[in-house]
């Protein structure tokens, strides 16, 4: 009799163990990519601490990360939505500069910083909507369409500015400057807080709003999305519009930080932004990707940039390494996808 009870108990314990194990594997499957990216971040950090302890155990280098990484984090976050929707946007570097044309022109005309900011974001929105229109209404593949608009907006910027920059000294000590790129408690760059705020907003949009749900569905299986009644065109236009606005905002922050607007603004951000999204685990085939992954990955990319310089290599190495990161993370994802299917 007792042995029977014991056997039952053993059975129960075994079952509980089985369930625990499957809960663990479920957790791994669900959050594997996020855990992975955090592990990569820690590894990179430890490597840098060992490589140059003096630089990486002091505050200044982290302040430097927090001031420059948000320039592309802010674009990489909405770009994640574009790529989840199985589209691509290569025009954002030019839109960064195009938004600042709106800013400087409006500021010169009216002297109002508020109107200038509005003009900047509006320019970004228009450029994003144009991308969406070309892709959706004309049916051009977004890769090609946004290569086209990348050249178009850069060209427009150079024609309007004549290739010369503009000083933003007048914005120094204004509320706008403090809010966008000031230093909180004299230490934390405000752009870092903007990056966090935008990450939270985009996370909510993607994971807790019907629009975000449709972004995933459109990228996963566009035919089924259409058959189930999702407005695929509107979803696509909106993701491009988000990147447009974010690129203009990022251009504004990057320019305010250095108090000067260069017409070439944005050049050099293509690789770091794209590699943030792909290293963060977003599938190049669409349908999967996380905001958390992109956010963490963008700081890995930022750290690598600083690390290369700290390690005594020339800046030329950054391109080699970013290129490698894009190719490796995209291929790794593709291999994983085939094996998990």
């Amino acid at each position: 009799m007792t042995s029977h009870v014991n056997q039952e108990e053993v059975e129960q314990i075994n079952q509980a163990r089985r369930m625990q194990r499957s809960a663990l594997s479920n957790l791994l499957r669900k959050y594997g990519l996020q855990i992975g990216i955090v592990a990569v971040a820690l590894l990179v950090w430890i490597a840098f601490v060992i490589g140059s302890p003096r630089a990486f155990l002091a505050l200044p280098i982290y302040q430097a990360f927090m001031s420059t990484t948000p320039f592309f984090t802010i674009i990489a976050l909405p770009l994640t939505l574009v790529i989840i929707a199985a589209e691509m946007d290569l025009s954002f570097p030019s839109i960064m500069s195009w938004g600042m044309v709106g800013f400087t022109l409006m500021f010169t005309w009216t002297g109002s910083l508020e109107l200038a900011v509005l003009a900047c974001l509006l320019c970004g929105l228009i450029a994003g909507l144009l991308n969406g229109f070309i892709v959706v209404a004309l049916g051009i593949p977004s890769l090609v369409a946004t290569i086209g608009t990348q050249f178009f907006w850069r060209g427009a910027v150079l024609v309007i500015t004549g290739g010369t920059g503009a000083s933003l000294i007048a914005t120094q000590e204004t509320l706008l400057h403090h809010v966008m790129v000031g230093r909180l408690f004299g230490k934390i760059p405000m752009q870092m807080l903007w990056a966090i705020l935008i990450a939270v907003l985009i996370w909510i949009i993607l994971n807790r709003h019907a629009f975000g749900a449709h972004v995933y569905l459109v990228g996963d299986n566009v035919e089924s999305a259409k058959l189930m009644g999702i407005n695929v065109g509107r979803t696509r236009v909106m993701v491009f519009a988000l990147v447009g606005v974010a690129a203009a905002l990022s251009g504004l922050i990057a320019s305010l930080e250095v108090l000067y607007y260069w017409p070439t603004l944005g050049e050099g951000y293509m690789l770091s932004t794209l590699s943030s999204v792909f290293l963060g685990g977003t599938s190049v085939f669409g349908g999967t990707g996380t905001i958390f992954g992109t956010f963490v990955a963008s700081f890995i990319i930022g750290a690598i940039n600083a690390g290369i310089v700290a390690a005594g290599l020339t800046g030329f190495w950054t391109q080699v390494i970013y290129g490698l990161i894009i190719v490796l993370s995209v291929s790794m994802h593709s291999v994983l996808r085939r094996h998990l299917a």
Binding site: S22, K30, N207, A210, N221, E223, S224, K226, M228, G229
Partner: protein, 251 residues
């Protein structure tokens, strides 16, 4: 008869291809209509007009007695037309609850998702109508890992969950095992018992004959004929199908 759906003289062309020509088609409020026809007969086009995916070039379309002048898939679903597609319109990399509530997300007025309620309703659907017993499957399971029958079950439960008046099954038995097929045919009978209407499209004449009240035969974009299943034997129906395929005429 009281019809839930009526189509009068519907025509539709794609470029030079005339997919449908003067189609007259109707479904009773509590009727299972079998739609038969060879490849290219126009079944898919007809279905896509009913579901709001295409709009006809000419002809009149009535649902629930009201004429429709413009359609969209979202509108058709709001009116109570749900479809189970042969392509198994599921998003493979998404979770079960996201698939069940695809384009029908439970949200507040601002469009924010009520994730917990969707998970809970998915769980009760799984235990009830879907008949999932494995503990490995949860509302957060990714659909890619399901078997063909399970996926079909998800698509069917999705159609049923939203209290459709008219359920369209497009080649639902394709790729199903014997027992899964049997379950599916029972599901069609359940639709009729629940007082709802159903359009059942299948290549397999046996399946259609065994559940349909009425069979409509399409051929080359036109209605070749229709029969009440009680007035015709399976053999006669098969013979007529062969004749249509060869000559384009039923007799």
């Amino acid at each position: 008869m009281d019809y839930i759906l009526e189509m009068k003289n519907i025509s539709k062309s794609f470029g030079e291809v005339q997919a449908l020509r003067d189609i007259n088609f109707a479904v009773g409020r509590n009727e299972v209509v079998g739609l038969l026809g060879d490849n290219g007969a126009g079944k898919s086009t007809l279905i896509k007009i009913i579901t709001g995916y295409h709009f006809p070039d000419s002809g009149e379309l009535f649902f629930d007695g009201k004429q429709l002048y413009e359609t969209s898939v979202a509108k058709a679903r709001d009116m109570g037309i749900e479809t189970v597609y042969q392509e198994r319109a599921l998003a493979d990399q998404q979770t079960l609850w996201r698939n069940i509530f695809m384009c029908r997300e439970l949200t507040n007025k601002m469009g924010f998702l009520d994730v917990e309620r969707m998970r809970a309703e998915t769980l009760s659907l799984m235990k009830g109508s879907m008949g999932f017993t494995s503990t490995a499957v949860t509302p957060d399971s990714v659909v890619r890992t399901f078997s063909g029958g399970e996926k079909q079950g998800v698509a069917i439960v999705r159609a049923l969950h939203f209290q459709a008046e008219l359920i369209i099954l497009d080649e639902p038995t394709m790729g199903l095992s014997l027992s899964e097929t049997k379950k599916l045919l029972q599901f069609v009978r359940d639709i009729r018992n629940a007082g709802k209407a159903c359009i059942f499209i299948d290549h397999n004449v046996f399946h259609v004959y065994s559940v349909a009240d009425r069979v409509v035969v399409l051929d080359r974009g036109m209605v070749a004929g229709q029969f009440m299943t009680q007035d015709i034997t399976l053999d006669q129906l098969m013979e007529k199908m062969y004749r249509v395929a060869q000559t384009g005429h039923l007799d």
